[in-house]
Symmetry: C2
Subunit: 362 residues, 2 copies
C-alpha cells in the first residue's frame, strides 16, 4: 500500500469513529508528510518565504498532523518542472505561477497574469467569486492537479534595461526575459523573448546574453541584484497588473483529503494570498528608495507612445488563447470579469492615493 | 460550571490524551457554540454576508466542532453596543468596524480607517507585518477583547449629498452622518457631524434630519436606497482609503482556545479579510453603473479645493489621537508604516490601472 492509499484508508477509518454526546467525536487521522516544490531559492524574499509561511500555517491549522517539506528550485526536480512533478506524483504540492507551465495550455497564463488584465484584488474576486475557480479546476483536471490561489506579488515593474527606453523603437532587437503572454506582447514590439528559470536570470543579464529582464518589483529585484548590471528600471508593467501564485495539489492527494482538510488547504492558501500581497506592499517602498538613493537606478514611467503600442498588440495576444473550447471560455469569462470591475477600480483607490499624495507630498 | 469553564476543561483533557504511533493523536474536544453580534442586518450585502461567510468557514475548518450563531443589529444587543457585549461576555464575537467604539479610546479609529491613512492592502500589511497587531492587542486588552482583522470594504465613496458640492463652502452648516476621525475632518470643514447606527441612516436622510451621509460604496449604498433621497455622490473619500472590519473575540474565550484553534480563528478571519475586499471589488462596478444609468445619480470627483481643505485639517485630527502613551505609539507606528509604503503604492497599481483604462477606454 503506498502512502496515498494509506492516507485514504486512515480517513475512512476516522470517519467511522463513533461520536459521544457533549464531547465531539475524536477522529483518528493519519499524519501526512507532503512534499512542496517551487522554482525559487529557499527563503527568497516574498516568494520562498511565502511558501514557508503557507507550509507553517498548514501545520499549525492541523495541530501538527500535516507537515510540508519544501524543496527549492532544482532540489527535487529541475526548475520549471514543478507542475509536471505534482501532476505525476513526484511531489504533492507546488508553489509557483501557472504561466511558467503555459506549454500545457496557453490559458494557464490567465491564472497568473494577462496583459491589460486584473489587479491582485480583481484576480481574487475572479477566482473566488466570479467563476474563475471552476474554469481553473477544469483546465487542470486532465493533468490531475487541483489549483488553489496562494498569493500575488501585486503590480509588477515592467523591468530592467541596460539602456534608456525613450520610444518603442528603442526596444527593437533587444533580447529580453519575460514569461507568459506579456512576453508575446513584447515580442510584438520587436524584442527577442527568451524564457529563463529564475536562478539563471542574473547570470544571463550579467554576461550580456540578454539586454533586459522582467522580474517582479523593487523588493525582489534588489535581492537579485539586477541594479549591478542594469540601470534603467521602468513602470508600469501594462502586462502584469498583478501576478498570482498557485498552490497546486496533486489531485489524488486532494481527493484523499477530508472535507475539513480541503477547507484547511483552501483557507491556508487564501490567507497566504493576502499575506503575500501585503508583504510586497510592506517591502517594495523601502526597496525602491534604496535602489534610487543607494544604487543610482533610474526609475521612469514608460512614455505614452509605448503604452499605446502595447494597446495595439495586447488585445490580439489575449484573444490568441481562445483557440479551443476551454481557452475560449477562460478568455471570455476573464475579460468579462475585468470589464465588470474596472470602472470602480479606476475611480476608487487610485483617486484616494492621488489625493493622499497631493496632500502629503512625495 | 459555566460554558467557558467547561470548554477550558475539555481542552485540558484533550491535551492529555495519549498519542499512538503512526496514527496521530485523536484529541477529544468539546463542541463550542459561539454568539456573534454585528451592527448590520442579517445577510446585508458585503457586511452581513461577510459575517456569515466567516462563521461558515470556522465551522468547516473545525469539522463542525465550532458553531457560530449570528445576531443582527438590535437582536441580542442594541446596535453599536457590540464591543461592550463581547467585552462583558454577553456575546463571544463581534463583526464590526472598531471606529464605532472610538469612545473607548480615539486610537480605535486607526484600526478601521484614518484620514490620509492606509489602503486595504496597506492596512493588512500594517496589522500583520509592521507591528499593528501588537498595538491593537495592547489597546484592547483592558476591555478583555482579542481583535482580529476580518475584512475591508476597500476605498469608500465620500458620500451622498442632497445638493451639489462645488466648493468647500457648500458644505458649511450641513448635517452629515460620518463616524470616526473622518467625521472630525468634516466637522473642520464646517459640517455638523452626527453619529447614527446603520439601521437609522436612511430614515434620517429621508426625513431631512441629515443633509447627507457617508456609508460605504456603490454596492452597499444601492442596497440601502440612498439614491431615492439624495442625488449627488462624491469621491474620493480622502478620509477612508479603506475601512477595516474587526472580528473581536472575548479574551477569556480566546485564551481558552488551543493553539491550533487560535490559528484557525486567525486564518478564518484573514481569509475573510481578502474575501470581503474581493466581494466589494466584484460588485461595486455594476452597482455604480446601475446608480448612474438607472437612477440618475450624479457621480463626481471632489474639486481640488476641497481636497486641499481636507489637507489643512486632517493632520491635526490624526495627531489628536496621540493624547496618551498608547495613542502616541499607535499614531507614530501607523503614520510611519504609511510613509514607508505609499511611495510604491502610488506608482504601482494606479499607473497600471491608468494605462489599462487608457487602452481599453471607459
Amino acid at each position: 500500500m503506498d502512502r496515498r492509499e494509506f492516507l485514504k484508508g486512515a480517513g475512512l477509518a476516522g470517519g467511522a469513529t463513533a461520536a459521544t454526546a457533549l464531547t465531539a467525536p475524536a477522529i483518528a487521522q493519519g499524519t501526512m508528510e507532503l512534499k512542496m516544490v517551487m522554482p525559487w531559492p529557499k527563503n527568497f524574499p516574498g516568494l520562498g518565504t511565502s511558501a514557508q509561511r503557507v507550509a507553517d500555517r498548514i501545520t499549525a491549522l492541523s495541530d501538527g498532523r500535516i507537515k510540508v517539506t519544501i524543496y527549492a528550485a532544482n532540489e527535487l526536480v529541475p526548475a520549471l518542472q514543478e507542475f509536471d512533478a505534482v501532476s505525476q506524483g513526484t511531489a504533492d504540492l507546488y508553489h509557483a505561477p501557472d504561466y511558467y507551465y503555459a506549454g500545457k495550455h496557453p490559458a494557464f497564463n490567465y491564472f497568473t497574469a494577462a496583459p491589460l488584465g486584473l489587479t491582485a484584488t480583481e484576480h481574487t474576486a475572479w477566482i473566488e467569486l466570479l467563476g474563475g475557480q471552476a474554469l481553473w479546476d477544469e483546465l487542470n483536471a486532465k493533468d490531475k492537479v487541483k489549483p488553489l490561489l496562494v498569493g500575488n506579488t501585486g503590480t509588477q515593474m515592467a523591468g530592467w534595461f541596460k539602456k534608456p527606453i525613450e520610444k518603442a523603437d528603442d526596444m527593437r532587437g533587444l533580447n529580453f526575459r519575460m514569461p507568459g503572454l506579456g512576453g508575446q506582447v513584447w515580442r510584438g514590439l520587436g524584442m527577442n523573448i527568451v524564457s529563463l528559470a529564475p536562478p539563471q536570470i542574473f547570470q544571463a543579464l550579467s554576461s550580456g546574453a540578454i539586454d533586459g529582464t522582467d522580474w517582479v518589483g523593487p523588493w525582489n529585484d534588489l535581492a537579485f541584484g539586477f541594479y549591478k548590471v542594469a540601470s534603467y528600471y521602468y513602470y508600469p508593467s501594462v502586462v502584469e497588473g498583478g501576478a498570482a501564485l498557485t498552490l497546486g495539489v496533486n489531485l489524488d492527494v486532494w481527493n484523499g483529503f477530508s472535507k475539513s482538510d480541503q477547507a484547511l488547504f483552501h483557507a491556508a492558501a487564501l490567507t497566504e494570498n493576502g499575506m503575500m500581497y501585503a508583504d510586497y506592499t510592506a517591502n517594495n517602498g523601502a526597496a525602491l528608495k534604496t535602489l534610487v538613493t543607494q544604487h543610482g537606478v533610474h526609475v521612469s514611467r514608460f512614455p505614452d507612445e509605448i503604452i499605446d503600442e502595447i494597446g495595439k498588440i495586447a488585445p490580439d495576444v489575449l484573444a490568441s488563447v481562445a483557440k479551443d473550447d476551454i481557452g475560449k471560455r477562460v478568455y471570455e469569462f476573464y475579460t468579462k470579469a475585468r470589464d465588470q470591475m474596472r470602472g470602480w477600480t479606476t475611480i476608487a483607490e487610485p483617486q484616494f492615493i492621488a489625493a493622499r499624495q497631493r496632500i502629503l507630498g512625495t
